[in-house]
Amino acid sequence: MTFLPKPKLHHPALPTNSLGFTRRDYEGAVSTLCAGCGHDSISAAIVRACFNLELPPHRIAKLSGIGCSSKTPTYFLGASHGFNSVHGRMPSVLTGANLANRDLIYLGVSGDGDSASIASASSPTSCGAAST
């Protein structure tokens, strides 16, 4: 099986935020990364942050490039639209998405190869454009 959905069950006493979401509502599919991979810690932190910040999951768009880091948007925010684009080019896709709709929250995920190597040229320009 190449896709592992997570069971929707959770403890009835699990706390909810002001929007009525539990922390589990911010999770995604089961991670297929190696056991102990640091990316899973980052994904867990994103889940916790979004829960704590009380963000409506569907108002977040998550974008990434290619690679292990870029796979992780599958593993958090299952109720958000996600876009796993091409290697090193997350910043441009995110910039375009941001130009189209300024009301969503955009979350870009990228790794060392994806961003620090390929996109080292594209990131500054795109981030500049995205923030203007």
């Binding site: 896709f3 569907h58 109720a79 996600g82 320009t125």
Partner: protein, 620 residues
């Protein structure tokens, strides 16, 4: 000062000739030359201008060719120049050589030139332009700029132009700057008066007022396509400058600043980004379109090469995108300021893996506008990249065309988008489910519904519900659905336009894009020679069934195009499984626009070569 008028009888033509200006880049000649052309249009005589500019900057040669044709032929004529306005010493030899026998040479005779520099079979007209302007002006820039207007004045006398029309155009050009108007009118008359006093006016080439322009408008294809994008509802443009497409994005910027700024809030209702490169441009377009905007980029062949990976993503992940490709001569840097139809195959099958893309081929600014707007409906309807293939010939030259039409009640076709209400009502959503049997699935915009309709977009293989899957059947089903979707596109792209010959014939010709005016004229030339051709102008890919039927109805079909490798012919053979023997190549690819003479000669030669001449019977 007609140096050889006694020996040569010059050509005698009314409203039907070619004038070419040879200038030095950056000398300010462009506006004088444009005035010359527009004044002819104002006289009711159709003319088509062409900027011929090698890829260099100030100080190097540039040409402006004007074809005057009351009969309305808008394609390049070819076959030499009737009147050469030779203002560039660097290109003197080639410019003089390009004049047809009996043609005219107009030059600056301030410095005497040896007779060996001239030809004896042309009419030579010398005017001491530098001397005239040196006397009249002290400032060197003024001397240079007004020299252009002085030669325009000389031409007005030589060709019998309507001077009030030129004066009116000068007044329009310098509206609000009265001093400049007066100075230009003065320079114009300086040249005109000199010519009337010293030269035999008019020469054999003359202009006469006519009524052959009608209500047609005069605009370049890139501006028309940009206006089409505005009408088509484009709100995001991400681009990287490249000749010959830059003026498309620039025109879009101008139109948006004029028409898309909220009058109350003064906020822009558009976003235009000049990205860091072509990869980022197409990435931004795809990101914006994924998020529900109508987005486009404008580029040329090298940009298409750079965008390949993203184009494949948009095809496979099914994201709308509009790509205007204003084609130039390749491969590589090629001849960047010369025209060609050379990206047909690289767009049709852009990116790795099995891909096929929708393409539109406008013939003139009218269709650049129309297809420019239509492309956004098609992109949304088909959820795939749409290529609008212009070329330098129509993109960067102003051209007469029908006035644009727009029905204000026309609604945008946003395609299959599932709404929050439909999701709330429990409608089943699977991003890649073929619900309607046309291969086109439903999509949702990000942020639509709190709990339903979210999906993950990816370039990797997936199942019908957008879940990552490397299962063979999932992949194969998806690929076959994409093919079905492409088949649906066949009836959505503009249908080909057929034009029947005046007499029944078994010969046909297929052509597209900027070849159009030359092909139409060639058909007339060939008909006069007794060769009759049915014409079919292809306007879109995938090919409509009419195209296959047209080939089936004819014994021999000439495929006329402007590239070396017969790219449209290859596409026809591959996609329609036609017998290659039926399709004859007519190829023009030297970077100049194709001409009627070229097409008619190539077709006539081919037909002649097929005729079998029987051996004469031996006389006993």
């Amino acid at each position: 000062m007609l140096q050889s008028a006694e020996r040569v009888t010059g050509l005698q033509r009314v409203n039907d000739f070619v004038v070419k200006f040879a200038n030095v880049n950056g000398s300010g000649s462009a506006s004088a030359n444009a005035l010359f052309g527009k004044a002819i249009l104002r006289m009711g005589v159709p003319m088509t201008p062409r900027n011929i500019f090698p890829s260099n900057i100030q100080g190097l040669p540039t040409w402006y060719e004007v074809r005057v044709s009351e009969a309305g032929h808008l394609g390049a004529r070819g076959g030499g120049v009737d009147l050469m306005v030779a203002m560039n010493p660097q290109t003197w030899t080639q410019d003089v050589a390009s004049i047809v026998p009996g043609g005219y040479l107009f030059y600056d005779s301030t410095k005497p030139m040896p007779p060996s520099k001239f030809r004896t079979d042309i009419v030579v007209i010398g005017v001491p332009l530098t001397e005239i302007t040196n006397k009249a002006y002290t400032d060197s820039r003024q001397r240079q700029l007004f020299k252009n207007i002085v030669y325009l004045g000389v031409l007005s006398a030589l060709l019998q132009m309507d001077v009030p029309e030129i004066e009116k155009l000068l007044a329009e050009q310098f509206r609000g700057r009265d001093k400049l108007i007066a100075a230009n009118v003065q320079a114009l008359h300086m040249g005109r008066d000199y010519a009337l006093a010293n030269l035999q006016c008019p020469i054999g080439l003359t202009l006469q007022r006519a009524d052959a322009v009608g209500d047609r408008i005069f605009i370049e294809g890139n501006a028309a396509a940009a206006l089409g994008a505005v009408y088509g509802g484009a709100t995001v443009c991400a681009w990287y400058p490249i000749t010959p497409s830059s003026s498309l994005a620039e025109a879009f910027t101008r139109y948006c600043n004029r028409y898309r700024v909220d009058p109350q809030t003064k906020q822009n209702r558009f976003a235009i980004v000049q990205a860091e490169d072509e990869l980022a441009s197409i990435g931004m377009v795809i990101g914006a379109a994924w998020n529900g905007a109508r987005a486009f980029t404008a580029t040329s062949g090298p940009g298409i090469s750079l965008m390949q990976e993203f184009i494949g993503l948009a095809y496979f992940a099914e994201i709308p995108a509009v790509i205007f490709d204003v084609q130039r001569s390749g491969p590589s840097t090629g001849m960047p300021t010369r025209t060609q139809q050379t990206d047909i195959l690289s767009c049709a099958y852009a990116s790795h893996g099995d891909t096929k893309h929708v393409m539109l081929f406008p013939e003139d600014p009218y269709e650049c506008f129309e297809f420019g707007a239509l492309s956004f409906d098609l992109a949304d309807r088909l959820q795939t990249p749409i290529f609008v293939l212009l070329d330098l010939e129509i993109g960067m030259n102003e051209r007469l065309c029908k006035p644009f039409e727009w029905d204000d009640s026309r609604k945008m076709d946003r395609g299959k988008v599932m709404t929050a209400e439909e999701l709330e009502a429990g409608k089943d959503f699977g991003r890649y489910l073929d619900v309607d049997g046309d291969g086109i699935p439903y999509r949702t915009y990000p942020g639509t519904h709190p709990t339903r309709g979210a999906f993950f977009t990816r370039g990797t293989s997936k199942d019908r519900r957008a879940r990552y899957s490397e299962e063979g059947p999932d992949y194969a089903e998806n690929m076959m659905r994409l093919l079905k979707k492409f088949d649906t596109a066949k009836n959505l792209v503009p249908r080909p336009v057929a034009r029947a010959a005046k007499e029944p014939t078994r010969l046909g010709a297929i052509y597209f894009g900027s070849t159009s005016p030359a092909m139409n004229e060639a058909e007339e030339i060939l008909a006069e020679r007794g060769i009759h051709l049915d014409l079919l102008r292809v306007r879109g890919f995938p090919f409509h069934n009419d195209v296959k039927a047209f080939v089936a109805e004819h014994d021999q079909v000439f495929v006329v195009e402007q590239n070396r490798d017969a790219q449209l012919r290859t596409l026809l053979l591959t996609e329609l499984e036609i017998d290659p023997a039926k399709l004859t190549r007519v190829l023009h690819f030297d970077g100049t626009p194709i001409t009627a003479r070229f097409i008619s000669d190539a077709i006539a030669d081919n037909i002649d070569s097929l005729k079998i001449v029987p051996f004469r019977k031996a006389v006993p």
